[in-house]
Symmetry: C2
Subunit: 124 residues, 2 copies
Amino acid sequence: MTDNSVDGDAVDELEVWCAGEDWCPVTTTASLIGRKWHPVIVHRLLEHGPSGFNELKTNVDGISSKVLSDSLENLEEKGLVDRDIVSEKPFRVQYSLTEHGESLEPVIVSMRDWGLEHLTEPSE
Amino acid sequence: MTDNSVDGDAVDELEVWCAGEDWCPVTTTASLIGRKWHPVIVHRLLEHGPSGFNELKTNVDGISSKVLSDSLENLEEKGLVDRDIVSEKPFRVQYSLTEHGESLEPVIVSMRDWGLEHLTEPSE
DNA sequence: CTGTATCCACAACGATACTG
DNA sequence: CAGTATCGTTGTGGATACAG
């Protein structure tokens, strides 16, 4: 390895960085968002910005309260999502992405693009 | 599709394509590779090319026979991976990516890059 | 080498209902 | 609005052993 410059042209080839080491960025990334709903939730937050619980629930489409709740808790633990109480009287909460979470945008975008190009028919 | 509205400048904003419809490319993509090991396996196949079972098992690092077997079967069902018997006498098999599977490269690369940039310390 | 056979544990998911 | 409580099902992961 010349010098493992992480970005830019290093992308043209998928090489080393995992050789010999016992961790791998793909593995680690997958452990954070490699779940059925996590990428979708992050995506909705990217798309719609900070959202309330039910707003998110509606946007995510098909997720149950419990699963959304679990997922958000998990994303919080991982430092990808922030939960802020914006109002006590009418109890309102806002979920938003942390910087860490926002940085996932390229990943989510690539997933979206792939889905758009290769899965135009979900019935497959 | 070089015309892809999906890439390039379209990325600056994450908008529509999911509005009103009951499917979403992110959801669908996540349902295919939104698992702990799937992206890693696909990555290894991208990196090392067609691989045998144990070769893959070694490369994936830490995965058990059962889980790898299960995952490969799942990836096959999804049309992302092909399994070819290359030799009967000394029984040898080769797993390789289908075109569909190879097309996931940008997604895997983005996951790798994100991991490299944001998770230099897996201990976090 | 290429897996399968078990068994087990636990996480994820899902539906429904219900509370503050 | 923002969740929790339950319960049940399925999926995922991991260890060990064994078979073609």
